[in-house]
């Protein structure tokens, strides 16, 4: 018998977030310029595994992805059993900045998808000095819900299965079946109320709209990417958002959906490499 061990390594980081102890899972691969990757709502770092396993990407980039608290292998904080999980912009920003600091990342590129892309744009506006550049995937200024977020947390139905069936609307028919289902599996596994709590942030906080114009892309470039099959953040949404950020660039990916790095890894890879090429390489510059 023989097997293949992937290049990805995973570890746990214990740190305080919001004054409370958290145990956060992160994984990484590669060497060079740090690139911090943020998963979508209701999912986890596995969405990034194809790129973390891509030798060309990791040859000159250190890709790091972490599971947000409550997601994947990161535990919720002590006392969660009586709490209603509702993500906020402030808590999300604090989490990303704390991870950057705790992992000792020197001005990483920040790459986020969906709600991760939204927070990447918030950080581009509010904390640009902590990053080299921003890759905002399936990200927009604001998305009102076209669904009732309470569908995904109720005692008489499985929120994960409903969430997966709903988000399948955002997956491209060009995606290989295996990766389509792997993408949905993460939603099926999501903890009770977590997808709802993420969507609360994603569909109710419109504070980014007024901040987009303040983003200085001469200092930290912003590159947006959007899949043509994304019903949640449509190409029109991404175009509107990019147009509001002076100097931002945009790539429309014709055969991809809302989870491009996960649903169609080979289709997404060239777009991501192009995005990385647009980001300053501080590690190389310093060498």
């Amino acid at each position: 018998m023989s097997g293949t061990i992937e290049a990805i390594t995973g570890r746990y980081l214990n740190l305080d977030l919001g004054g409370r102890a958290h145990r956060v899972y992160f994984e990484e691969a590669g060497q060079g310029r740090p690139v911090l990757c943020l998963h979508t709502a209701g999912a986890d770092t596995r969405q990034w595994r194809h790129l973390l396993n891509d030798a060309e990407t990791t040859g000159s980039n250190r890709l790091i992805a972490f599971d947000m608290p409550w997601h994947g292998k990161s535990l919720p904080p002590e006392g969660f059993e009586t709490e209603e999980y509702l993500l906020t912009t402030e808590a999300y920003i604090e989490t990303v900045l704390a991870m950057v600091e705790a992992l000792g990342l020197e001005r990483p590129v920040l790459a986020g998808c969906s709600m991760g892309g939204r927070i990447a744009l918030q950080l581009a506006a509010l904390h640009p000095e902590r990053f080299t550049g921003f890759i905002a995937i399936e990200a927009s200024d604001f998305q009102p819900a076209w669904y009732d977020i309470d569908w995904f947390h109720r005692p008489d139905a499985h929120g994960g299965e409903m969430g997966a069936a709903l988000v399948s609307a955002n997956i491209s028919p060009h995606a290989p079946a295996a990766e389509r289902w792997n993408t949905q599996w993460m939603f099926m596994q999501s903890g009770p109320g977590v997808f709802r709590g993420d969507l609360s942030f994603y569909t109710r906080d419109d504070s980014l709209i007024g901040r987009l114009g303040a983003i200085d892309t001469a200092r930290t470039p912003v590159h947006l990417m959007v899949g043509a099959y994304d019903l949640t953040c449509t190409p029109e949404d991404a175009r509107r958002t990019a147009a509001a950020i002076p100097g931002a660039t945009l790539a429309v990916m014709d055969e991809l959906g809302h989870f491009p790095m996960s649903e169609h890894p080979t289709g997404f890879r060239p777009y991501f490499l192009e995005a990385l090429a647009r980001m300053p390489d501080t590690a190389r510059r310093a060498a």
């Binding site: 076209w146 008489d156 997966a164 609307a169 028919p173 099959y229 019903l231």
Partner: protein, 126 residues
């Protein structure tokens, strides 16, 4: 359309995983295509009957309304953006869902996969 629906009915009955997913689904769904109405009577995950309307006497749990051209685009093997999902049809203004939407959402995978069965069958003359 009736021939297509009958082919989908046969395909559903021959798809064990869908029968298993729909084992708690016994509802009537109204599929409205332009002005034509089809009442799809599901019984424990099987499509027990396809009744042509219009009928004001047939109760239904939820309804999907669309047009024939949109449905044909939906049934392409690789549909264009927006035509690739029933909620895509709604989003681009070519479809509408009425009635008990929660009943649809609770059975969303089953119903979406049933509707997608039309992608795998050739329409035969009635």
């Amino acid at each position: 359309m009736q021939a297509r629906l009958r082919a989908m009915q046969a395909r559903l009955n021959g798809t064990p995983h869908l029968r298993r997913l729909g084992r708690l689904f016994s509802e009537t769904v109204l599929l409205k295509v332009d002005e034509a109405e089809y009442y799809l009577v599901f019984d424990r995950g099987a499509l027990a009957a396809i009744q042509c309307g219009p009928s004001r006497k047939t109760p239904w749990r939820f309804a999907l309304s669309t047009d024939a051209a949109a449905l044909e685009a939906f049934w392409q093997a690789r549909p264009e953006p927006g035509f690739h999902d029933i909620f895509g049809l709604v989003k681009i203004g070519r479809g509408r869902v009425d009635g008990d939407i929660l009943a649809l959402v609770k059975n969303l995978r089953f119903f979406k996969e049933f509707m997608a069965l039309g992608r795998e069958v050739e329409e035969v003359p009635a």
